[in-house]
């Protein structure tokens, strides 16, 4: 019984990183109605750039690496926007999606080239004994991952719902033409959205790598797929949906692993996605058919 609870708790804590990646996908979708397929790969790339930059400063702590990862995340987010969305006619759906796929492969290969394909040790944020809660034991680094994720999400929600920039972002997401007529610079809002999701991605990439303990391009594939699944289950464009779906997928994934083993785990996650597509295609918080 406690094994079972333990698996769920670990999963939910790790699921916060899925939430962060899911939020990144969902924000870009909400604002531009595009999917940035390269998001998870570029996030891992930012985490790696942070690791490299951190290693240049002798004696730097894990937090310095994280700060660099955050900064590189924002920078890479802007670059992705510039290359994949600004230079390509926005109406051409295939071309914009395909260019982000190209970016995914490029980011993957760049990391693999510079690490010569071998996994890199990634610093953990805290090194302490496992916390004990009755029979349950909680990994302290996962708790920090959880707390940092919650803080990031809170900042993001405040940014979206409490600032003028957030208002502009939501306006563009709702009606780009009307927003433009009201004097909002849509191009600028789009670019800022990419920078914000990039910052989030840098953090998420660093959190995932430190939770796993290593940085490897083998992470990007599953992270991309899981992030997209979280986005769909949460409902495309819904930030609260992505948060809940991320935690849910994290918990259920460990549950499936507990009962059916690691090789079959993801199979059940896919089945869950299909169940959602058939019965609730709008996601967890679907509110009937909205504007299209």
């Amino acid at each position: 019984m406690f094994d079972f609870l333990q698996a769920v708790v670990d999963g939910i804590l790790f699921g916060t990183t899925y939430s962060l990646i899911g939020i990144g996908f969902t924000l870009v979708f909400g604002v531009m109605h595009k999917i940035n397929m390269s998001y998870a790969a570029v996030s891992i790339g930012a985490a790696y750039a942070g690791l490299l930059a951190g290693s240049l400063i002798p004696g730097s702590s894990a937090w310095v690496v994280f700060a660099f990862a955050l900064a590189f995340g924002g920078l890479f987010g802007y670059l992705v926007y510039l290359i994949c969305f600004h230079l390509i006619p926005i109406r051409n759906e295939n071309a914009t999606l395909m260019s982000t796929v190209g970016m995914l492969l490029l980011a993957d290969e760049l990391v693999s080239h510079f690490t010569t394909g071998s996994p890199q040790a990634y610093p953990a944020m805290v090194e302490a004994e496992n916390l004990r809660l009755g029979e349950l034991s909680l990994r302290p680094d996962l708790i920090v991952v959880f707390i940092v994720s919650v803080i990031c999400t809170a900042i993001l929600l405040a940014l979206l719902y409490r600032t003028r920039l957030g208002l502009a972002t939501r306006a563009v997401a709702q009606q780009p033409v009307a927003a433009q007529l009201c004097g909002i610079r849509v191009v600028r809002v789009n670019a800022i959205t990419f920078v914000v999701t990039g910052l989030l991605g840098g953090i998420a990439g660093a959190l995932v790598c430190s939770a796993v303990g290593t940085l490897s391009i083998l992470i990007t594939g599953p992270l991309t797929v899981k992030g997209l699944i979280v986005t769909v289950i949460g409902g495309l464009g819904s930030v609260p949906g992505a948060i809940v779906a991320g935690l849910m997928i994290g918990g259920l994934e460990n549950l499936f692993q507990h009962f059916r083993g690691v090789t079959e785990r993801d199979l059940y996650v896919m089945l869950l996605l299909f169940a959602f597509l058939i019965f609730r295609p709008g996601g967890i918080f679907a509110r009937g058919r909205g504007r299209d």
Partner: protein, 301 residues
């Protein structure tokens, strides 16, 4: 010479894979599950020839049929969602199928070895061609017969009434629906045709490599399948062929000396291709220029 035969087979199989995505792209849908139908065709036809001793041609058709059936079945639920949601749904389905084959064991004692798919180790000994004494030249011709047939079929489909319907749905769903086109039937049938072509490609691939495993059918393979028609352009089937020759012939084989920089180039190339020619190498403008040139050439001759 063996090397060029091998390269020609790879180009042929990838052309089929690209064409399978091409048909679906015509309806404006993007399917990231092409590698799954490819895997289904590969495993099905491999099992038929190895475990049950079928002839290769019927087993290829069976693989294509199964690919078509599964693609049609996926088409229905997946069509509840549109556009980008479909991309994610098919991506997840493709991963699901890959994981299915990762866990799929079905082995049979044959002589003194056990043959058949074995989970993560994959499916070895698909030795139909060597057992029946086919030379690699003959295998290449065999593969290309199918490639030419399918290309001709898709080319003809494209110009038929059905192709016009596909493109109408791709251009503007609402307009297509309002002139009485059945959207569901059109999209599901396009998925089915795409699944059949991918299944056929999978069968050919399984017999050409003799060893298949789940890793060969990952997301990257689906990305390749989509990249060919998009890079080549959706105006003509020849765009897909040109893109395959460019990628497989030039990028993958021609630049082998560059070592692992070559992989970097592939991602960068997709981006550059999309920035420079968002509608593909062979877009409508280019195609009409070719047509005019050939007409002029014909008139003067």
């Amino acid at each position: 010479m063996e090397f060029y035969y091998g390269l020609a087979q790879t180009i042929g199989i990838h052309t089929l894979l690209g064409l399978s995505a091409y048909v679906i792209l015509l309806t404006g849908q993007m399917s990231m599950a092409q590698a799954a139908f490819y895997a289904i065709g590969a495993y099905a036809s491999g099992m038929l020839t190895v475990l049950w001793g079928w002839h290769i041609v019927p087993s290829l058709f069976a693989g294509a049929g199964l690919g078509a059936l599964i693609a049609g079945l996926v088409g229905f639920p997946a069509l509840r969602v549109k556009g980008l949601m479909l991309v994610i749904a098919t991506l997840a389905f493709g991963e699901g199928i890959r994981l299915f084959f990762f866990n799929f064991d079905y082995q049979v004692q044959k002589g003194n070895i056990r043959v058949g798919p074995l989970g993560g180790e994959g499916f070895r000994q698909i030795r139909y061609f060597p057992e029946n004494g086919w030379t690699s030249g003959e295998v290449m011709v065999f593969v290309w017969v199918f490639v030419v047939l399918v290309m001709a079929l898709v080319w003809w489909l494209d110009r038929s009434r059905y192709g016009t319907v596909l493109r109408a749905v791709g251009d503007d769903e609402l307009a297509a629906q309002s002139v009485g086109i059945n959207l569901t039937a059109t999209k599901v049938s396009a998925m089915t045709v795409g699944g059949a072509i991918a299944g056929l490609a999978g069968g050919l691939y399984a017999h050409y490599t003799t060893h298949i495993e789940h890793l060969a059918f990952g997301v990257v393979q689906s990305i390749f399948a989509l990249a060919y028609p998009i890079i080549g352009g959706l105006s003509s089937v020849f765009g897909t062929l040109a893109a395959v020759i460019f990628v497989q012939g030039f990028l993958v084989e021609g630049l082998r000396d560059l070592g692992d920089w070559r992989n970097l180039l592939f991602g960068a190339l997709i981006i550059v291709a999309m920035v420079v020619r968002p509608s593909g190498f062979l877009d409508a403008k280019m195609l009409s220029r070719f047509k005019r040139a050939s007409r002029k050439g014909g008139a003067s001759a």
